[in-house]
């Protein structure tokens, strides 16, 4: 490499770094403002231009949020809903994705195609009929009712199927059969360990899908103690007028668990998506 091309590529890298930094700041700005607002007095929130560091930081907002609303209850509801949905989606996707990838009967292919087709129908289209079903079952205001739309994820099935095709050769399964393994043993001891990455990625996806979902919970949940965090936060705006400071504090508090989960699972998430396939 010559000197000039070296400096040129360095200059290019610098430019790239600056650009990425700017984008990063732009992305983080609202988030930082939100967190900062949580610590501001109601007066300071309305100051223009907004301050990034509160002049007179206060915990009053957080205190009020936790005393005036069942925020912990909502977080707990969201967490149970998201975790159960995640577990259900991981199980259904892994089983179905494996079967679709490795057991090729035409019936299975037809079912798989139907599953994929459901991905193009927006949930909102069948949300209302589903609501009446849930109501008929008496499952309003319950985790069970909430879960009904979040047990299966067609993208999850597709993700696992692609990974099985890429990472689990037929011979492995056949070798295990000859070695004396039954079908479920093979699934559990051969297939699942080889899908660690994609399963982790799917877990994160499924968790946040449920954690951030809004339309379905707001339809199914009417009792305040049954709210998920998203529904609870939305309620701030109407029921408590728009108390920006309070809302900011609540949102900031709510972000903690999701950021934690993401930080913990980040590596497997990235690896899983990278392996999902389009490599090879």
């Amino acid at each position: 490499m010559t000197v000039s091309s070296n400096t040129r590529s360095r200059r290019k890298n610098l430019l790239l770094d600056i650009m990425l930094f700017v984008i990063c700041v732009l992305l983080l700005m609202p988030l930082l403002l939100l967190i900062a607002n949580g610590f501001k007095t109601p007066q300071e929130i309305l100051v223009w231009p907004p301050t990034i560091l509160p002049k007179d930081p206060t915990l009053e907002n957080f205190h009020r949020v936790f005393s005036e609303t069942p925020l912990f209850r909502w977080i707990f509801n969201s967490l149970s809903f998201a975790l159960l949905s995640m577990i259900a989606i991981v199980i259904t996707s892994t089983l179905a994705g494996y079967v679709v990838a490795k057991f090729q009967f035409w019936t299975i292919n037809v079912i798989f195609t139907l599953f994929l087709a459901t991905a193009i129908i927006p949930f909102e289209v069948y949300m209302i009929p589903l609501y009446f079903q849930v109501k008929a079952l008496g499952a309003l205001n319950s985790i069970g009712g909430l879960l009904i739309g979040y047990l299966v994820m067609s993208f999850g099935i597709f993700l696992i199927r692609q990974n099985v095709i890429a990472a689990v050769p037929d011979e492995l399964i056949e070798a295990a059969r000859i070695d004396g393994a039954g079908e479920f043993w093979i699934f559990w001891h051969i297939v699942v360990p080889l899908l660690k990455g994609p399963i982790a990625a799917l877990s994160v996806l499924a968790f946040f899908q449920a954690w951030t979902t809004f339309a379905w919970p707001i339809v199914v949940l009417t009792r305040k103690t049954a709210f998920t965090i998203e529904v609870g936060l939305a309620n701030f705006q109407s029921a408590y007028t728009v108390d920006l400071a309070l809302l900011s504090a609540a949102s900031a508090a709510v972000m903690v668990p999701s950021v934690l989960v993401f930080v913990l699972l980040r590596r497997s998430f990235v690896e899983g998506i990278a392996a999902s396939g389009m490599k090879e």
Binding site: L172, E174, A175, R177, I178, D179, G180, A181, L194
Partner: protein, 354 residues
Amino acid sequence: MSSVEIRNLRKSFGPTEVLHGVSFTIPDGAFVALVGPSGCGKSTILRLLAGLEEVSDGELLIDDRVINDVEAKNRDIAMVFQNYALYPHMTVAENMGFSLRLMKRSKADITAAVKNVAEVLGIGELLDRLPKQLSGGQRQRVAMGRAIVRQPKVFLFDEPLSNLDAKLRVQMRAELKALHSRLQTTTIYVTHDQIEAMTMADIVVVMRDGFIEQIGRPLDLYDNPKNSFVAGFIGSPAMNFLPVTTEAGSATFSFGDGQSLSLAKFKHLQGEFLIGIRPEHFQQQKTRNGLSVTIESIEQTGAETLLQCQSGDQKVVIVLHDRFAASPGEEYRFGFDLADLHLFEAESGKAISS
């Protein structure tokens, strides 16, 4: 140890039949090679025996018991795959002990058995490694180890050496053979390499397009091939085939280029035939019978001399075990023994015995 019998085995994938009624018997403890060109159905036979595919028609027997409907996991057969099929997330020891674990053997038992076999195969040092940390040859040994640990009734090998380099292949050939004479387990070994089949097997089954062409001991196949396919497939370089014609009663077999050969014992024949003669059966010395050829190229390897020649419009390959002084373009008459000649019907390829 067990005997294996295959009776009139047929297999179709959809509308295409790929095995058209295959039968053979493998005595207890024998080493049988299934050999034939790629796509002739060798792997399919193994997969049917292993229970990975369903039989379309016919019967599979182990120890005189029909196993058609026995599930793969209950057949007590071990198979070594061409690409080894090691479980990537398990160590060598776990790979080898997998089947024993399924048999619910005790941990101590498994460790001891795995260790024992690993020592025999020279992979005792590798037990804690993952497959991806092994070389091709080592993976091959682990795959074999996984099969041996189980002490199954039958071993199935599907081209186990074809992913190794030439030198390692020769070495493993000898090791496999030694292993078999030690374990005495009935073995079916699939290969497209006739040399592997010839050097390792007690019995060789030559296949083509879903049919068995001939079954026999290696040297029987070499000496008395039943047809021109087997004659051409067994032996390397391959047998030369030269078209000849003869009239009934004349005993004179004429090559296209004016040369001819007198074969008294075939004087009842009439029509078109193929004369087959192996490259190594030509002699530099003049004999009563011979063939004149134009030498096209000479390859000296020291131990032997390989000649590419032309006789009329036929290519002829000759291998001499002596040095040979001639140059390309020269004409030379090589001798041979009539006993080494093979005669085949031109159309069907069927061998004609006197």
